[in-house]
Symmetry: C2
Subunit: 424 residues, 2 copies
């Protein structure tokens, strides 16, 4: 596309692209947009290095003039969008990029990979957080997604309200609290379960978490308390998705005098099994596969569409494709969330043009919360959205935005978006 | 785990870990193991750099003695496994790592991330290849998975039989044929569909592929042939999952004299919609979301378990955890596929111990194909499995292995593994 558009000059037409989701994943009531902070860093660094240019040249992928253009490439345009951690609905204009056509279209795959993957994880994670009812959640799914995606998944889950990750690189890069755990292999390495527990307690003290289900859970709990004493920090049950098993371990711990020893549960948990454990005496959860794979929706379904461009006279022209099943809405967008007098979200308003404005039209007692912020100006990202600070801010913003959701949004069953999206 | 095991010396016990899948994804009949070649390169390069060590030190994640051990870390052990591209079944010992406990357990996340993600993509892709009935398939899903996973996904789909990818980095790194396409944005950038088609034909000649469904498909096809002539290479329909739409375009092209113009179809295709188009005049397919997300099974469900270790006397001890729902089989494994006289696979034989051997036990006319090869010796990978050559070899091996599958393996509906796994 860039090769052909550079040849006829249309590559330099100023253009506006928009990333949005036509629908929420499979019966979900809301989504959480994550990936924005990572994306801004990736856009800032996006260059074609000599090895890449050489490969394009050797394989005649583009013309020599286009290679020269790629060699000089860096993004110099503007980006607006929803703040990272914001709740979204179908049609929410999550990210808009204004630049020349060639400069902006070059970023399509990067924009969508980042937003689709990270938002898929965050949207699933947010549901787990809401059913965990305040009990801490640790992300432990690195092994169930690509080795680089694992770091992004840890970040997305944290922004969505998880408390820690087992991914140390995510701790180092994004400032996320990390935690570790002993696997069954550690027990099996030793000559007995008791020897393994003793080694762990010697290394980390009695406040450690002992994995008690390598052999027999009842025997494991007994050994754990005998080795660590009643001050044992916690036991982990990796087959603890059954409420009765957890209740049995609690009774046993209490009977042994280990009344302050906590129970952490891991075992292919998802939002449904976590909800099913809400009445059981679980103190914390570790979640793997389901969170890093978006719990059934591994790609958030976001698309990146040209919505406006200048014509030869310099005038902006709204554009949109017309295919029946995949129509899009052309034009520059702005967005605001309509809140009622209790600050509960009631409507996602997408203004075509430069809106909002016209607030007088709305019912008394309602307010509009603007949703879009400037993320990059002339190719320079706003530092507030980057790095560990941006990640922490996104997590805080997600917590605030979630508080506005109507109670229906927290249903686990399939259904429609919690609030309607209206174009104005 | 490593920190505690270094402290009591068990870290240095020679250990054998095994990666395997307890079950196939959700009703599938077979899996295709991919990721091995990437993994061997990643293991070879696995080091702790100063910035990482400094972060571990500053956050007191491990003791200073363990930091010294990590600073010297490089893998020096042995790896055996199924050849990349091999078909697998529940319990197939896909990868075994023999090294000290600490050296091997350090690789767990890397092993599983790589095998789970890549094999998930390959196992879905192989089903699409078999229902495409020889029509070429292009992988176009980079935007639907993490930005680095996208490169791995392109490679996995290619090994599984896809013909090309839109991911140029996968072309550069792994030697995979690449292709490009014009998006709706390219049409919308121009003042008319005709102007867009003209720009594309001027840049690439009439053998290009024109996207005809930005506005009205019938009008688009007419304009495409008028601009490019009856020698037009192909039209792409991005809403072409309806057989009737494809048939209508074929009739129209033929009526316009463009009898050699091909039709390529893209539109959220998966193995089921591809099968549904088998009677329609489609010439090639482009597949995105479903292939890079494993078509409903985004993680292949592989696990990495300690199966044997030496004791203090230097004797090997088989180990396995006993939890009811997640039991594993201890001991060193070897594996072979039993083929009948027509070279059709009938059984996955997993030998506990050093097997095979004892071939006389098998029925006359059957043969055993050994499945495991040495992948790394003393930390050095066998070069035959690396880089573009290893990728091409894996693709060829997959084609051969698939030919052994019984016809039942190609059912799309849910069911059991195509052949049973037997432990001996």
């Amino acid at each position: 596309m860039v090769d052909a558009a550079l040849q006829n000059g249309t590559a330099h037409r100023e253009s506006l692209f928009e990333a949005f989701a036509r629908r929420l994943p499979d019966g979900r009531r809301y989504g959480v947009v994550v990936g924005t902070g990572r994306l801004l860093e990736l856009i800032s660094e996006f260059r074609f290095e000599e090895a890449e240019l050489e490969w394009l040249r050797a394989n005649r992928v583009v013309r020599p003039e286009t290679l020269d253009w790629l060699a000089d490439y860096r993004f110099r345009g503007d980006v607006w969008g929803y703040r990272e951690g914001e709740v979204y609905f179908p049609g929410s204009p999550l990210l808009t990029i204004q630049a020349t056509f060639a400069e902006a279209v070059m970023l399509e795959t990067l924009v969508l990979s980042t937003l689709n993957f990270d938002s898929s994880v965050a949207s699933a994670a947010a549901r787990m957080v809401s059913v965990a009812l305040g009990r801490p959640l640790a992300e432990m799914g690195s092994r169930r997604t690509g080795e680089r995606s694992a770091v992004a998944a840890a970040r997305a889950a944290y922004i969505a309200g998880f408390d820690a990750t087992s991914n140390l690189e995510a701790g180092r890069t994004w400032g996320i609290p990390t935690m570790g755990t002993a696997a069954h292999a550690f027990t099996l390495l030793h000559d007995s379960e008791e020897a393994a527990f003793r080694a762990q307690v010697e290394a980390f003290g009695p406040k450690t978490t002992l994995l008690v289900d390598t052999y027999d859970i009842r025997q494991g709990v007994e050994t754990a308390v005998r080795v660590a004493g009643t001050g044992l920090g916690a036991v982990r049950i990796d087959s603890g998705d059954l409420p009765a098993v957890v209740a049995g371990v609690r009774d046993q711990l209490d009977g042994l005098g280990a009344v302050d020893t906590k129970i952490t549960v891991t075992s292919d948990l998802d939002e449904f099994t976590i909800a099913g454990l809400s009445g059981a005496p679980v103190d914390s959860y570790g979640v793997g596969t389901s969170v890093v794979t978006g719990s059934g929706s591994p790609a958030a379904g976001m698309v990146f569409k040209l919505v406006a461009r200048r014509d030869d006279a310099g005038e902006w022209v709204s554009v949109a494709k017309a295919s029946a099943s995949k129509a899009s809405v052309g034009g520059r967008k702005n967005a605001a969330r309509r809140l009622d007098s209790t600050r509960t979200a009631r409507e996602e308003l997408v203004f075509i043009g430069d809106g909002p404005g016209g607030e007088a039209e709305f019912e008394a007692g309602t307010s509009l919360r603007p949703l879009m912020v400037r993320l990059m100006a002339d190719g320079v990202a706003d530092a507030a959205y980057l790095g560990p600070e941006g990640t922490a801010a996104a997590r805080a913003h997600r917590a605030e935005a979630m508080q506005e959701l109507p109670i229906e949004a927290f249903r686990l069953g399939r259904g429609d978006a919690a609030i309607p999206t209206t174009y104005r």
